[in-house]
C-alpha cells in the first residue's frame, strides 16, 4: 500500500484537512505549498472528532453556526470553519436521489431505517442530527422580524422532515437543505441529479393550480443556482471550480421517446445567464432531441460557462446495459461529478477510484528494447499489451485498498440499504462498482504508430536510436524530434489502424480489470477521460507523439488539427461496451466568432454528431487571444470561465500549467 493511501485510510484524526488543501497545490505540487496550505487549513477548519460518523455528525450539527440569509428566498449555508474527522474515506462524487425527500417525507425513510441493530442505531442518531439542525434553523428563523419571506421559510422548515413537499419552491428548499448537509459533512463533488425530471410533477402541479408561472419558476431557479454557487472556494476540490454540482437535463425514456419539459428549458436558460462556473449542466441527448432544445443549448454554450456537456443516450444506454446495469436504471442514468455515468439512488459506485496510465506500460516496454531488441512491430505491441495487463492488475488490487467511512445519511436515502440493514459503505446499495479513469492513451497510439512507421516500415531509425533520443528528452536530437512532430497523428483521426489499436488496448485493460471484482463484488470499468492528464504526465518521460518530459498528455478524446466532424466520427467508432463506459468525452475548442456566424450550422453539427454516435462531448467556446490577455492581465478578466477537465473554472484562478495548456489548445484549434 502506498503512503498516500495509508494516510487517507488510517490517519483519520488529521487527514480531514486534505480535501480542503488539495486545490492549493494543484499547480506547483511542491511540498512547501502543501505545508503552507495545510497549516492555513488546520488553523481555519476545526473538526468534530469521533469514531462514529453518526455521533460526529450530531456533535457537528450542535456546534455549527446557523446563518439564515435574509437576502434570498431560500435558506442555505455552510459553516466553513467546521467539519468531521471520522475513520475511513467519506464517499463522494455522486448525487443522492432528491425525489425521495420531495415526494416522500424524510420521516418515512427514517422509520424504515431506525432499529435496534447497529445500522438502525446509527440511522437514529443521524436522523436526530438532521432534526436538530432543522430545529435550530427553525428557531433562528423565528427570532427575526417576520416578513413574508421569513414566514414562508418557517413553514418550509416546520414541514421539512415530516411532510412531502407541496410546492416547487418548497422542493427547491429541500434539495438545498440536504445538499447543505452533504457538504457540511465533508461529502465532496455533490451532484444534483435529473432536476427537470425530479421537479417536473411538483412544478406542473403548481402551474395547474396557479401557484406558479414560468416566469416565477425561472426566477426561483436562477436564485437556486446562484445560492449553490456560494462557498466557491470551500466547495472546490482538486482545483478551484472543481465542485461537481452537476444538473442532468433531458433524456431518453424506456419506450424510446425523449423526455424534456419546461424545466429543461428553464434550467438551460438560467445556466446560460448564471455567469458562474458551477453549478454546471449535462444535457442528455438522442436522435429524438428536438431542435428547439439543441438551439437553446447552443445559446447556452455561447454564454461560455462550459455548459452543457452533451451525453448521447443512443450510445451510453446500450453501453450501460452491456456493463450490467438493469435496463430501467440505465435509462435513468445521471453522472458523477464530471461525466462518469452513475445510477442515482441505487448506487455506491465510486467512479474516480484510480487512474490508469497507458503510457506507463509503453515507457517500461520501450526500455526493455535494450535487452529484447524488438524485431517487429507486433513483437513490441505484444510486449506492451502484456505490460498493460500487468499494470491493470495492480490498479485493480490498489482500488481495493481503500477503507470507506460509514455513511448513514446517504444510506438512508439509497435504495436497498434500509432493507438489507447494510450501510452503503459496506455494499448496501444495488450497484457497487469502481470506475477507473485513464490517461495517456492518445499519446500511446500516436507513439506506437510513429514507431511502426519510422522503425519497422520505413527503417529510417532503429528503435534504439529513437529510444536514446527520447530518454534524453530529445536534447541534442532535434532532427529526430522534428521528424516525430511532423509525423501524421493518429489518435482522433478516422483511420482504421488507430481505431483498431485503441479498441484492442482498452479491451485488454478492461478485461483484466473485470477479472478482479472489488470487495463488494462490484466490477471495475474504464473510460477515455480523466482529470489527471496534467498531473500524471508530470513525471512521465517524453513519448513519440511530440510530448516532452513532464508536458501534459492529450486531453480526453481530442486531437490538434483534425476537423470536428472527423473527430466525432473517430469517437463514434471506439468501443464502449464490456465496461468501457466510465466517461468518454470528445473535447474541443471552438471560436466564439464561428458560433456567432454559424449558429444554425453549429446546431446541425450537434444533430449530425448525435447521429454519428459520440459518447459524450464538451467544448470551450473561446479564442486564444482572450485567454492570452487574461493570463497577462488577470485583473481585467475576473469572470472569464473555461472548461477544464469535466468542470468549469474561472480562468484566472487556474494554475499556470493549466492556463498554458488551454491557450495552446485554443491556438491549435484556430489553425484548422
Amino acid at each position: 500500500m502506498n503512503i498516500k493511501q495509508k494516510i487517507k485510510n488510517d490517519l483519520w484524526r488529521i487527514n480531514y484537512i486534505l480535501p480542503f488543501a488539495r486545490k492549493d497545490i494543484a499547480g506547483s505540487g511542491s511540498r512547501k505549498d502543501l505545508l503552507r496550505s495545510l497549516a492555513r487549513n488546520f488553523k481555519s477548519v476545526h473538526p468534530v472528532v469521533n469514531k462514529s460518523v453518526a455521533i460526529a455528525t450530531l456533535e457537528l450539527f450542535k456546534s455549527i453556526e446557523i446563518n439564515v440569509l435574509d437576502d434570498s428566498t431560500f435558506v442555505y449555508f455552510l459553516d466553513a470553519s467546521k467539519t468531521l474527522a471520522v475513520p475511513g474515506n467519506i464517499i463522494d462524487n455522486f448525487s443522492i436521489d432528491y425525489s425521495k425527500i420531495i415526494y416522500e417525507s424524510f420521516e418515512s425513510h427514517r422509520s424504515n431505517a431506525v432499529g435496534e441493530d447497529q445500522y438502525g442505531k446509527d440511522a437514529k442518531i443521524i436522523c436526530d442530527a438532521i432534526e436538530l439542525l432543522r430545529h435550530r434553523i427553525e428557531n433562528e428563523l423565528k427570532k427575526g422580524t417576520k416578513d413574508a419571506k421569513r414566514a414562508q421559510k418557517i413553514i418550509w422548515f416546520e414541514r421539512l422532515l415530516n411532510n412531502k413537499a407541496e410546492h416547487f419552491d418548497e422542493a427547491l428548499q429541500r434539495i438545498l437543505f440536504f445538499n447543505q448537509i452533504l457538504w457540511q459533512t465533508r461529502h465532496r463533488l455533490n451532484g444534483l441529479g435529473r432536476l427537470d425530471k425530479i421537479l417536473g410533477p411538483v412544478y406542473q402541479h403548481d402551474l395547474e393550480n396557479g401557484y406558479l408561472d414560468q416566469k416565477n419558476a425561472k426566477t426561483l431557479i436562477g436564485e437556486f443556482l446562484t445560492i449553490l454557487g456560494r462557498y466557491h472556494s470551500y466547495k472546490s476540490t482538486a482545483l478551484y471550480g472543481d465542485i461537481g454540482q452537476i444538473i442532468i437535463l433531458g433524456g431518453t425514456e424506456k419506450n424510446g421517446s425523449y423526455f424534456y419539459n419546461d424545466l429543461t428549458k428553464l434550467f438551460l436558460s438560467c445556466q446560460s445567464k448564471n455567469n458562474a462556473p458551477d453549478p454546471k449542466t449535462i444535457l442528455r441527448v438522442s436522435r429524438q432531441t428536438p431542435s428547439s432544445l439543441l438551439a437553446l443549448s447552443v445559446e447556452c454554450l455561447r454564454s461560455a460557462t462550459g455548459s452543457p456537456l452533451f451525453s448521447n443516450d443512443d450510445v451510453i444506454i446500450p453501453a450501460l446495459i452491456d456493463a450490467g446495469i438493469v435496463e430501467e436504471d440505465a435509462y435513468n442514468y445521471c453522472t458523477s461529478a464530471c461525466w462518469e455515468p452513475f445510477i442515482v439512488g441505487n448506487s455506491f459506485d465510486q467512479n474516480n477510484m484510480q487512474i490508469f496510465d497507458y503510457f506507463e506500460g509503453l515507457d517500461s516496454t520501450l526500455k526493455q528494447n535494450e535487452k529484447m531488441s524488438f524485431q517487429s512491430f507486433d513483437e513490441l505491441l505484444q510486449a506492451y499489451r502484456k505490460e498493460n495487463i500487468k499494470n491493470a492488475r495492480v490498479t485493480a488490487i490498489n482500488a481495493d485498498e481503500i477503507k470507506w467511512a460509514k455513511d448513514p445519511i446517504v444510506s438512508i436515502l439509497t435504495n436497498d440499504c434500509n432493507r438489507k440493514r447494510k450501510d452503503i459503505s459496506d455494499g448496501g446499495a444495488k450497484y457497487n462498482n469502481y470506475g477507473i479513469t485513464t490517461v495517456g492513451l492518445p499519446n500511446v497510439i500516436n507513439s506506437l504508430l510513429t514507431i511502426r512507421d519510422l522503425v519497422f516500415d520505413k527503417h529510417e531509425y532503429t528503435l534504439s536510436e529513437l529510444e536514446t533520443a527520447r530518454l534524453c528528452d530529445y536534447e541534442g536530437y532535434e532532427d529526430i524530434y522534428k521528424r516525430i512532430v511532423s509525423h501524421t497523428k493518429a489518435f482522433g483521426y478516422d483511420k482504421k489502424e488507430s481505431i483498431q489499436l485503441i479498441n484492442i488496448l482498452t479491451g485488454d485493460v478492461v478485461a483484466e480489470l473485470r477479472k478482479h471484482s472489488n470487495n463488494f463484488g462490484g466490477q471495475l470499468k474504464i473510460g477515455i477521460s480523466s482529470p489527471d492528464y496534467i498531473k500524471k504526465a508530470k513525471s512521465a518521460n517524453a513519448d513519440y507523439s511530440g510530448r516532452k518530459k513532464g508536458d501534459p498528455y492529450i486531453t480526453h478524446i481530442s486531437a490538434d488539427g483534425v476537423s470536428l466532424t472527423e473527430l466525432v466520427r473517430f469517437a463514434s467508432k471506439l468501443e464502449y461496451d464490456k465496461g468501457r463506459c466510465n466517461g468518454n468525452v470528445v473535447d474541443f475548442f471552438i471560436s466564439p466568432s464561428l458560433i456567432e456566424k454559424h449558429f444554425d450550422k453549429f446546431e446541425l453539427f450537434l444533430r449530425g454528431a448525435i447521429d454519428t454516435g459520440f459518447f459524450q462531448m464538451q467544448m470551450n467556446v473561446m479564442d486564444s487571444n482572450t485567454l492570452i490577455a487574461a493570463k497577462k492581465n488577470p485583473q481585467d478578466y475576473p469572470g472569464l470561465i473555461v472548461r477544464v477537465w469535466g468542470f468549469s473554472a474561472y480562468f484566472v484562478e487556474l494554475p499556470e500549467n493549466y492556463q498554458d495548456l488551454l491557450i495552446e489548445r485554443a491556438r491549435q484549434a484556430e489553425k484548422i
Partner: protein, 261 residues
C-alpha cells in the same frame, strides 16, 4: 496502372471537412487542381497549375507536394464519411482551382452521389467550355459563381479569361433553373474599382440578379505564395470600403451581404 484506372483518377490538392462557408449546411469541400484563370489575388494559388508542384516544408526541410491523384472510389468514400452531417441541404462542394475542368473524369462520381441524395454545389469561375458547363448542370444543385472583372480587355489582361465565354455560361446557368449564388471577390485596385463595381451592378440588373455576396479580400493565401516562390498582391480591403460597395449595390436594389472568412 492501366489506362482504364488512370481515367478514373482526379487531381486534387485537399479535401476539407466541416466547411461552413461553401454553401448551405455543413459541407465537405474538394479542391481540384488546375484553372485557366490567373487571378492575381487567388487565395489557393497551389490549385492553379494542373501539374503536381513540389515545395520545401519550412519547418522540417522535407520535400512535399501540392496536389495528388485520387481514385473516384476513394474520393467518394471520403466524401460520404460525413454524410450524417449533410442535413438541411448540407453536402459536398467542388472547389479549386476550376473544378469543372476535370468533370469528364468524375461524372460517375456525381452520378453516384446524386443517386444517394447528396447535395452538390460547385464554386466555379464559369470560364470554361460551354459543353462542360452543360454537363455539370445535370448534376449540380447549387452554383456558386464569382463575378470578378467584367470589362473585356481588363478581364483578358488581368485574369486571362474571355468574359464573353463567362456571360454565355452565366445565361445557361440562369436558364437551367438550377440554384445559383453570385459572389464578388472584393479586391482593392482589381475588382473593387468604381468602374468595375458599376459594371457588375449593370450586369446584375440585366440578368435580373437581386442578391450578391461580397467576399472580403484577405491575405490567408500568402504563405502558399511563399512556398511556391511566387509574388503575391495585397488582397486586403478595409471594412469601410466593403460597406461602401454594399451601399452601391443597395442603391440599385441589389441585396448585398458582406462575407468575411
Amino acid at each position: 496502372m492501366t489506362e482504364e484506372e488512370r481515367k478514373r483518377l482526379v487531381r486534387i490538392t485537399d479535401i476539407q471537412h466541416f466547411c461552413l462557408d461553401d454553401g448551405p449546411g455543413i459541407r465537405t469541400t474538394v479542391f481540384f487542381k488546375g484553372c485557366k484563370l490567373r487571378c492575381p489575388w487567388c487565395c489557393n494559388p497551389e490549385t492553379q497549375e494542373y501539374k503536381i508542384q513540389e515545395y520545401t516544408d519550412k519547418e522540417t526541410g522535407d520535400t512535399k507536394s501540392f496536389g495528388y491523384d485520387i481514385t473516384l472510389e476513394e474520393l467518394e468514400s471520403e466524401l460520404l464519411n460525413d454524410k450524417e452531417f449533410y442535413i438541411a441541404e448540407g453536402g459536398i462542394t467542388l472547389s479549386g482551382g476550376e473544378p469543372l475542368l476535370q468533370i469528364e473524369t468524375y461524372v460517375p462520381l456525381l452520378e453516384s452521389l446524386s443517386k444517394k441524395g447528396i447535395n452538390i454545389s460547385v464554386e466555379t469561375s464559369l470560364f470554361i467550355d460551354n459543353s462542360i458547363l452543360n454537363k455539370a448542370i445535370n448534376y449540380i444543385d447549387l452554383f456558386l459563381i464569382d463575378m470578378k472583372i467584367v470589362d473585356y480587355d481588363i478581364c483578358k489582361s488581368v485574369l486571362r479569361g474571355d468574359i464573353n465565354c463567362y456571360l454565355n455560361n452565366l445565361n445557361d446557368v440562369i436558364r437551367s433553373g438550377k440554384k445559383y449564388l453570385i459572389r464578388m471577390p472584393c479586391i482593392k485596385d482589381y475588382t473593387a474599382t468604381k468602374k468595375n463595381i458599376s459594371k457588375i451592378i449593370d450586369l446584375c440588373k440585366e440578368k435580373g440578379i437581386k442578391e450578391i455576396q461580397l467576399l472580403t479580400g484577405h491575405s490567408l493565401g500568402l504563405a502558399k505564395y511563399l512556398l511556391l516562390n511566387r509574388e503575391s498582391v495585397n488582397a486586403e480591403i478595409s471594412s469601410s470600403d466593403m460597406r461602401h460597395i454594399r451601399n452601391e449595390f443597395g442603391n440599385s436594389d441589389i441585396r448585398a451581404e458582406i462575407l468575411k472568412i
